[in-house]
Each structure stands twice: as C-alpha cells, then as structure tokens.
Amino acid sequence: MSDETVGAGAPPMVRMAGVDKHFGDLHVLRDIDLEVARGEVVVVLGPSGSGKSTLCRAINRLEPIDSGTVEIDGTPLPEEGKDLAKLRADVGMVFQQFNLFAHLTILDNVVLAPTRVRGVSKDEAQERARALLDRVGIAEQAQKYPAQLSGGQQQRVAIARALAMEPKVMLFDEPTSALDPEMVGEVIEVMAGLAKDGMTMVVVTHEMGFARRAADRVVFMADGEIVEVTTPDSFFSRPATERARDFLGKILTH
C-alpha cells in the first residue's frame, strides 16, 4: 500500500466486467459491466427476477459466475478457498433474512469474525463491538439472542456485525424486504448514516426513498441486464428507457 491509494490512480473499489451467469436455462446476469468508486453509494433497482440480488451476491462470489471478472479494490476474486475467504473478509454483507448466528448472543455475533478471522484480541473485539452496537442503537441488547430481537433490531445487529470487520465495501441484499413496515425506517437510518460517513456501498433495495436520499448513482436492472445507470434525480424524474418508466409507473402509482 502506498500513500497514493486515494486519488485518480486508485482502482475502483468494485469492478465487474463481462459477468455472465445462468441458472439452468435462465440467463440471470447478462454481460454485466459495473464500477463502483471509493466512497460511492450505488443503489440497484429493478423488478423482481431482474437479477439484482444475484449481481449483489456475485460481488463477493457467494454466487459463482460463469464468466467475466469481479475485482475488489483492484484484486480479482480467486477460486473458492483461503484467498477468497480473505478477500470476503474485506467485503461486508447484509442479507434480507439477517442471518444472525442463532446460537450466539448479539455481542458474540459481532465479536466472532474479528477474533476468529482477523485475530483481534477478545477484549478489543468486545470493546469495538459494544461501540458498534451503540452506533446502531442496540447497546442494551448485547446479551440477548437474535430470536429475542425484532426484525429491525436484528438487521441493525447484522450491519454492526459486518462493520466489525472494517470492510472496504458493504453489500446490502434487500436489507429491508423482510421487515415489518414500521421497522424499515430504523434500518434505513443506519444505512444513510453509513453512506454519509463515506462507506462504499452497493444496495439492492425497493426503498425508493433511500435511493433518492443517499444514492450517488442508480443502477436499473431488468431481465439480467443493466438497463440504465444514472443519478437518482434523473432516474426518478427522467427515466431514459421504456422499461424504467414501466417499472417506476408500477411502484409509484399504487
């Protein structure tokens, strides 16, 4: 690492080039090219089945791809194995279903990976975990188990768990889709705070409000393709393609 990592010469945080993926006969990702710059917040929108979740999961290779390359901070993702695991540690991920470790307390959920993957001492990891839980507003629940928390609280813990690894980029795969409506706001708040603090984020969501408010760019996908890449303002007020107009018509009129 030299001192010129930030600047024009630095590689994009995420780069996808020519990525293709099939599920059987279904072509879920078609020749995807996407670059996400350092500190940028990219929101991926699109109808269900458009491949946006698959795109998100392909970035840390939870979803293997058929062809093309994915690079994180200039390093291409290797084959499944130790090197891939190491690279994944730098990529935080938040899932639709939270996926907190059910057998561990909230605190241990946040402490586990830093101690076991990064080799951070237990005391230090706990101290940082408490600070993170405080930041997402769950500090009082540290000794509870995931099943004892509401969905919104669990998702905030999941964000803290990912942040505990001090990731270079955070992926959000429909983080509010499994939540009761009244809990969406609390999770969105945490995400907006992260965006403001300069975290590089790729967010797959149906929350148009978040896209308007926090996104630097909107990526609109349909049928496995990236159809439009533009600013939130231009996407919502002047969608360039028929498919985007159709999508916006459906979600905004009801």
């Binding site: 190491k86 994944r88 991920m93 586990l112 993957v117 099943a147």
Partner: protein
C-alpha cells in the same frame, strides 16, 4: 433381594465396568461421528465418499459381528490390545455411524443463510462448520442424539459376549453361585433404567438451556 445383596460387590463392579465402557465409547463415538458428519457435507468428493462408505458399512452390520471382529480378529490380524479397549473401539466405531447420520440430519435443519453469513465474513469451510453450523446442528438433534447414546449404553451388554467385565454378565455370575438367573436379570434391567435417567435429565437440561438460542 438376596440375589442383589448377596452379590452386591459383583453387581456394583460390573455396573462400574458398564459405565466405564459407556463413557469411553460415548466420547469417542461423538467425536468420530461429528467428524464423519463434517466429512459427509465436505466439498471434497473423496471425503464425502469415505464418510458414505463408512456409514453404509458400519450401520448395516450387526453390532455382534463388529464386536466379534474386534474380539477375535483384531488381535490376530494386528496386535494385542486388552478386551476392554477392543470393546470400546468396536462400540465407538459402530455408534459413530449413527451419531454421524443424526448430526447430518441436524446440519440440514440449519438454514443456508447461516453458512452464507459466515462465508461472507471471511470464514473458510472448516470454521463455518465448527463455529456456526455444527453448534446449531447438534442443538437441534439433542433428543435423537441422546437416543443413540442410550442405545450405546445398552449395547455395552453385547461386550459381555467376549468377557468384558460389565453388567450384562451379572446373571451368569449369579447363576454360578446358585442364585436365580431371572431375578438377576431383573436387577440388571433396573440398573440400566437407573443409568439412563441421568442421560435423559441431561438431555432435558441442555434442550431447555438451548431453547432460546436457536
């Protein structure tokens, strides 16, 4: 009562033998069974195949045959080991196949998202399995796993067949001294009931303790 109190020393030492056989075999079978279960879900085909062959062979073989092999065959083929140790090996290898299948059943109850979250945090296969998936899998199969271990406890009597000093042989000892075989067997049965109770209590305790945590 005479049958019991007249042979109390014998009765107690024999049950001591049963407990020793059980504890050693239980620990070994749990460890081996969990390792086998891990092999059966491993991404490496050779590991999976080894696990499958092991389970197929051991689970489909009568325990008596397994123990006879170790009692008679092992020493001839390889080297001398005391009968007690041979019995522990035989019982452990046999029971491990059942532990393996039970734990594997538990692994399939753990949602895929748990393993995905672990991988996304940078855990490799082994860590994902040992830190996240197996602890939850074992918790979810406590009742059947206890049943497997209770079966092991009772299977220790088969070891009496090749002169390991344990409870199943009590009736013969009584018989030699002119006591009633039937009464002796009833006492042995009662002894086993008493031995199984702590296992059941342990199972309940663990289930209760883990009820929130899964």
């Amino acid at each position: 009562m005479d049958v019991l109190f007249g042979n109390l020393g014998e009765f107690l030492t024999r049950f001591g033998g049963t407990i020793a056989l059980f504890v050693c075999s239980a620990i070994a079978s749990l460890i081996l069974g969990v390792v086998l279960a891990a092999m059966r879900v491993s991404p490496v085909p050779a590991m999976r195949a080894t696990g499958t062959v092991y389970v197929t062979l051991l689970r489909n073989t009568p325990l008596t045959l397994v123990l006879f092999f170790f009692a008679l065959g092992f020493t001839k083929l390889f080297f001398y080991l005391p009968f007690f140790l041979l019995a522990v090996i035989g019982l452990s290898l046999y029971t491990a196949a059942f532990v393996c299948e039970t734990v594997r059943g538990g692994i399939s109850t753990v949602s895929e998202g748990q393993a995905e979250a672990a991988r996304a945090l940078g855990f490799g296969f082994t860590q994902t399995l040992t830190l996240v998936v197996l602890p939850q899998a074992v918790r979810s199969v406590m009742p059947p796993l206890t049943s497997v271990q209770i079966a092991l406890l009772k299977n220790t009597t088969v070891a009496a067949g090749f002169s390991v000093f344990e409870a199943g042989g009590f009736y013969r000892a009584v018989n030699e001294r002119g006591g009633s075989t039937l009464v002796a067997l009833l006492w042995v049965a009662l002894g086993f009931v008493v031995l199984v109770i702590p296992l059941t209590v342990l199972q309940r305790r663990l289930e209760k303790r883990w009820s929130v945590a899964r």
